[in-house]
């Protein structure tokens, strides 16, 4: 049985930890004091880079590397904390904001010190009414105690933190969408480059970090890089030649929901398997695991053949999926995958920002196709296809065989792949929302094709037994490692 390792969540359930005094009793702000007393800003940036901390928001990009892209000579520079937690299946940031907001403020202070930032905006989801209330109270307290404002603790450091409410748009969780929204416009993502690190909010260099990423900083400073790097596995990434070490350090706040007995947030070292995680979360509710979504609803689904895939950044990328935000949704044998896909596609059709044509039109189109299949009106056809082989007359030619084709499944794959192609990893949209749509659409359909076919054939939702519903890995290219062109492998 895997043990929880609580670091970010260690004091979460302490009564009144949201107040300054109690937070102070549990080493609160001592890590920030250590940072300003013992280290230069460059040392901190170096420590974060060495710690191998990867962004916990979804993309999994190295935090230290992101910081290194920020030009030193352009001021002011801004920090945007992404607390717009909207990915279905993710709910770890909400607990930090509601129960331990001072930890986030301490993380922000360390980041601001390292990067020479004076203004931070916390973009908090509009629906987080309680979270915003607690956060605003904590910010106010920190100002009163002299940990925010001008000349903090007599060090000459100035940091201001403002919370900024969103208004219910999923796309504002995308970093450039967040920046547009923060500037008081529609949350429509920008073209990149320029990346926010060079030109972000108010056209100034901007660091955008997730709540969980920032909450890791006090512990990296407090306990040292060595302590941090011993948690989690390091792999040799064989996509590169020679293989590049790829660290998955630290803990992750895994949010597990769906068909488990004790859904919730579990803080564990990176690199455990789905089976282990389900065990930690009180076991499966039901007889058998049918599917696991590993990183929020945008991530490609894992079948019961892939339950031993490690849930970390590298392993999931190699399994043609992603860790994303760490929102794990478990489905048992009673679930119908067509129905689940319909639910997710309704979400994306609703949340497309409408900026790029392939996404604006493609997403509702995909939803309509899945709706049609689920309603029992899925299109199929029996056609005679020229299938070459040894024909009846013993000569090479058209065998005249008939074949049943599922028009809607081909159409689904074609439309989804035209929003974003999941095989080549190229998208026809400005932001990665495109890939977040086509990834689930194509992976569900390819991996659970028998269930889709049965539903179309029978004209009603058919839930097949797990073994029959799933295509085995050796028969389907949906499982294979993502195509990475050699010339891009070094980028």
């Amino acid at each position: 049985m895997v043990e929880e390792r609580r670091i970010l969540y260690e004091h979460l359930d302490v009564p009144d930890i949201n107040t300054f005094d109690v937070f102070r009793q549990y080493d609160g702000y001592t890590r920030f004091e250590k940072a300003i007393a013992e280290y230069q800003p460059e040392d901190i940036a170096k420590m974060v880079l060495d710690s191998g901390l990867k962004g916990r928001g979804g993309a999994g990009f190295s935090t230290g590397e992101k910081w290194s892209f920020v030009p030193k000579d352009i001021k002011p520079c801004y920090l945007c904390c992404n607390a717009d937690e909207s990915e279905p299946g993710t709910f770890s940031n909400r607990y930090v904001l509601e129960k331990n907001p001072h930890l986030l403020i301490e993380g922000i202070l360390i980041c601001c010190y390292a990067m020479g930032i004076e203004t931070t905006y916390i973009y908090i989801r509009g629906e987080f009414t309680l979270g915003k209330k607690m956060l605003d109270a904590a910010i106010k307290e920190a100002y009163e105690q002299g940990y925010l404002g001008k000349d903090i603790r007599g060090t000459g450091l100035n940091v201001d933190i403002y919370s900024h409410p969103g208004a219910g748009a999923y796309i504002c969780g995308e970093e450039t969408g967040l920046i547009e929204s923060l500037e008081g416009k529609r949350g429509q993502p920008r073209n990149k480059p320029p990346f926010p690190a060079v030109e972000g909010v108010f056209r100034k260099p901007t660091v955008v970090q997730n709540v969980e990423t920032l909450c890791n900083l006090p512990f990296i400073i407090g306990n040292g890089v060595e302590w941090y790097t011993q948690m989690g596995p390091t792999y040799a990434d064989t996509r590169f030649d020679p293989p590049k070490p790829d660290a998955n350090t630290g803990t992750k706040l895994y949010c597990i929901s769906g068909d488990v007995n004790e859904p919730g947030v579990y803080e564990l070292d990176l690199g455990l398997t789905s089976t282990e995680l389900i065990e930690v979360a009180g076991g499966l509710r039901g007889e058998e695991v049918k599917a696991v979504i590993p990183g929020g609803s945008s991530a490609p689904i894992l079948t019961h053949y892939e339950l031993d895939t490690r849930l970390d950044f590298t392993s999931l990328t190699l399994a043609k999926s992603m860790l994303g935000s760490g929102g794990i949704i478990v489905m048992n044998e009673t679930r119908n995958i067509v129905d689940c896909l319909l639910n997710i596609m309704k979400f994306y059709a609703h949340e497309s920002c409408g900026q790029c044509t392939p996404c604006r039109w493609g997403t509702p189109w995909v939803r309509d196709i899945v709706q049609r299949i689920a309603d029992g009106d899925g299109r199929k056809d029996t056609i005679t296809r020229p299938k070459f082989g040894v024909a009846e007359n013993g000569r090479w030619g058209d065998t005249g065989e008939t074949e049943e084709i599922y028009e809607d499944l081909d159409l689904l794959e074609s439309v989804a792949n035209n929003i974003a192609n999941v095989d080549t990893m190229t998208w026809n949209t400005i932001c990665v929302f495109g890939i977040a749509v086509s990834w689930p659409a194509v992976s569900y359909m390819r991996k659970f094709r028998p269930e889709f076919e049965a539903t179309i054939r029978e004209g009603k939702l058919v839930t097949l037994p797990v073994a029959e519903a799933t295509v085995p890995p050796e028969e389907n290219y949906a499982y294979q490692q993502r195509f990475v062109p050699k010339e891009f492998a070094d980028l």
Binding site: N343, F347, C353
Partner: protein, 174 residues
């Protein structure tokens, strides 16, 4: 939007408390336009929904065109352009809640309130005749561990069953 149309509406201005909060807000950003979302939230809290008069007022305060305010209001689902009930009931219906039978909760609410589900373009459809409740479906509320969840104005209600819904409605109606 012509000026005559706006004149029909009752003019809007922040009350004293909101004006103070707005003055504080505006100082946080290097450009005034950036205060758009918090300002609209303030205005909506005061009036219940965003009328053309509100948009005109916000545009004047932030020194942008009315069209720009309208642009933002229509983009974000949390801003209403029509009157809503005193209690806005948001029912989460995304996958984790769907796996935990949010449909039962939704159907029960529909039956109890005797109303349909509001759509973004037709809020009246989901509002009860007495104007007390508005029922709407929303996407993930980031509380999947305690699914199914609903949000009534700012408050989250967890692990719902039809019985719990009855209790809640009785409490709200009194």
């Amino acid at each position: 939007m012509s000026d005559e149309l706006i004149q029909i509406e009752t003019p809007f201005a922040f009350n004293e408390e909101n004006q103070r909060e707005f003055d504080e807000l505006i100082g946080r950003y290097p450009i005034k336009e950036a205060a758009m979302l918090p300002t609209l939230h303030l205005a909506q809290n005061q009036t219940g929904y965003i009328t053309p008069a509100v948009m005109k007022y916000v545009a004047e305060q932030l020194e942008v065109s009315v069209m720009k305010v309208k642009d933002v209001v229509t983009f974000y689902p949390m801003f209403f352009e029509e009157p809503v009930g005193d209690y806005v009931i948001r029912v989460c219906h995304t996958l984790p809640c769907a796996l935990r039978d949010c449909k039962v909760v939704l159907e029960h609410l529909k039956e109890k309130l005797g109303t349909d589900i509001a759509s973004e373009t037709n809020l009246a459809k989901g509002t009860t005749a007495d104007g007390k409740f508005t029922l709407m479906k929303v996407e993930c509320l980031a509380s999947c561990d305690v699914a199914p969840v609903i949000m009534v104005n700012g408050d989250l209600h967890k692990n719902l069953t039809p019985e719990k819904v009855d209790e809640l409605l009785a409490k709200l109606a009194s």
